[in-house]
Amino acid sequence: MYHSFEVDGVDHPVWLSASQDGYRLHLGDQVIAPVGFAHHSNSSGILTIAGESEPVRFVIDRDMIHVHIRGRTRTFRYRDPLQTLASVSQEASSLVARAPMPGVVVTTTVSPGQSVTAGMALMMIESMKLETIIRAPQDGVVDRIHFKEGESFERDAPLVTLSKEGR
């Protein structure tokens, strides 16, 4: 079983194994060795990877790892292998329309219990003066509307949950 780091909804399976001169990094079928990390402070250190040294700045905030290397920044969510399996089975019975960006709810065009078809408008959101229509990802019944009109939400927040069957 691999560990997984998620970025922008894409999982990157990773495995680390010990070797005599540090660690080996397994990325899919690719193996990079040796890799190592020397901490300089609680937010900086030097990564050694296949003979190269990279100064790294980082912050670990619960399951989020923010990393800065050479002017670029990436944020990874560490996904516990067991939790990953659990959430896959849970998501199968319901569908969630998530926020593509942070913003505010302008209007909601459906109500709980209503049947919707794929592509139907569920909600209009506004973000930085741009209006975006949130549409049903597939056929279903509106189970829950997570935010009222005028309420604000973060990116990836669930906006409308649909169930395949009515309750």
């Binding site: 990773v14 990094l25 990390f37 913003g103 930085m128 990116r155």
Partner: protein, 489 residues
């Protein structure tokens, strides 16, 4: 010691501009007071000001737009003057009037000037009647059908704009005249929604136009000078991202002409205080676009090359002092580039981003006008601009290199920003060659795209090595076993 008619100035703004204004007030020996909504309690301006007074409203933005509350706060802080910054109420003539009526000096031009320049249609007519160039256009008057006919007569391509607008909101380019009516309707709707004004105007759209503006300063004695131009052609959705001075597009003759035109317009308007005359420049010709009756976001590049503190000049002009220098005293030295750090993701259509600033470190050797502190929460309550980095060097290339180094050295973790996008532009051949225009980013869509795979293994290696459970599962297997082969469970 100052000899100004007021000793305390209320800054009716937030973010980087509030902090920047406070710096000058301090330099001038003035006391600074700043207003803040509770979401801004932990920001640079609040910690820098001599007094910070909380304001409230239905939304954070509404608090900063509440004239009555701001004036009450000014009295409470015993402020003799008020600086509106940019945005919010800075170009609201009614606000300027209300401030004056309350016996407080408004640091900005006269309300009548704000009114004139705030109405794009009136401003254009004024400039045209004063004998200065404007682009061929049609103005929306009483008869909407006749307006469409006149707009059509200018010929494609056209630019449709809401009259009450600014910041590029509601603007549309029409290349095919069949879609003109739809574009006008859309601009009307957006104008009504954002500015409470459904009037629009249509003008000739100049292909590959450059946005060049001229900084002017006027006093109450009729003196007007310019502080050269700024080029702000690198824009996304009509919003500026990178600004510089001097413009790489102007010959010395054109520079002289455009700067003198700006002074002429300001003089005709009896302009007092700092202002900016914006022009559109293409094929060797320039046309008046609009005049901004306030301090601009990009004013620091002008300050870097001229050595003039524009906020100090605004304070002096508002206090009724005569300009302390004449045109011949102003010289531009070197080249300055400003880059705007935004909380947004260029690779996702410039969608705004949010988060808590967990680590913030600015580079040395450049000017930083920052509106954020480590620990601050970035929300979508306000404009996404977080900070500005301004690089000054003898030449354009050196200044771009300096800005490039600075943006790569800057560390901001916890909220996604456009930093690597800015770095890509600063290293782009077309940008470095000065081949920019307002459609530059649409013409080079690859600039907004991030090559995610590049360097990914170093990021994943760091993430893996910094995550305890990942390291623990590696350490659980002795190296001897591990050496035998890839471990599977």
């Amino acid at each position: 010691m100052h000899t100004l008619p007021f000793d305390t100035v209320l800054v009716a703004n937030r973010g980087e501009i509030a902090a920047r204004i406070i710096k000058t007030l301090r330099k001038l020996g003035l006391r600074s007071a700043v207003v803040y909504h509770e979401v801004d309690a932990h920001t640079p301006a609040v910690s820098m000001a001599d007094t910070a007074i909380e304001i409230s409203g239905r939304s954070p933005i509404a608090a900063y737009l509440d004239t009555a509350q701001l004036i009450a706060v000014a009295h409470k802080a015993r402020a003799g003057a008020l600086h509106p910054g940019y945005g919010f109420l800075s170009e609201n003539a009614e606000f300027a009037r209300a401030v004056r009526k309350a016996g407080i000096t408004f640091i900005g031009p006269a309300p009548e000037t704000i009114e004139l320049m705030g109405d794009k249609i009136r401003a254009r007519k004024f400039v045209q009647c004063s004998g200065f160039p404007v682009a061929p256009s049609a103005v929306d008057e009483d008869d909407p059908e006749e307006f469409v006919v006149r707009a059509r007569a200018i010929g494609a391509p056209l630019l449709v704009k809401p009259s009450g607008g600014g910041g590029g909101k509601g603007m549309r380019i029409v290349r095919n005249l069949d879609s003109l009516e739809d574009a006008i309707e859309q601009a009307r709707r957006e104008g009504q929604r954002y500015f409470g004004d459904s009037r629009v105007y249509v003008e000739r759209y100049i292909e590959k136009p450059r946005h060049i503006e001229v900084q002017v300063l006027g006093d109450s004695f009729g003196n007007v000078v310019h502080l050269f131009e700024r080029e702000c052609s690198v824009q996304r959705r009509f919003q500026k991202i990178i600004e510089e001075t001097p413009s790489p597009a102007l010959s010395p003759q054109l520079r002289k002409r455009i700067c003198e035109t700006a002074v002429g317009i300001a003089r005709a308007a009896n302009y007092q205080n700092a202002g900016t005359v914006e022009f559109i420049f293409g094929a060797g010709e320039f046309y008046f676009l609009e005049m901004n009756a306030r301090l601009q976001v990009e004013h620091p590049v002008t300050e870097m090359v001229t050595g003039v503190d524009l906020v100090a000049e605004q304070v002096y002009a508002a206090a009724g002092r005569a300009l302390g220098f004449s045109q011949s005293d102003i010289a531009a030295n070197g080249h300055a580039i400003e880059i705007r750090l935004y909380a947004e993701a260029p690779e996702r259509g410039y969608a705004p981003t949010t988060g808590k600033v967990l680590l913030l470190e600015y580079p040395d050797g450049v000017r930083i006008d920052s509106g954020i502190l480590q620990g601050q929460q970035i929300t979508t309550a306000f404009d996404p601009m977080l900070a500005k980095i301004i690089a000054h060097a003898p030449t354009r290339i050196e200044s771009a290199l300096k800005a490039h180094r600075a943006i790569r050295e800057m560390i901001l973790l916890g909220c996604e920003t456009n930093a690597s996008f800015l770095a890509r532009i600063l290293a782009d051949e077309a940008f470095l060659g000065g081949e920019i225009h307002t459609g530059y980013l649409e013409e080079h869509p690859q600039m907004a795209a991030d090559n995610f795979a590049f360097g990914l293994s170093a990021f994943l290696a760091s993430a893996a090595l910094l995550t305890r459970p990942v390291r623990e599962s590696a350490d659980a297997v002795p190296p001897l076993h591990a050496a035998l082969g890839r471990w599977r469970n």
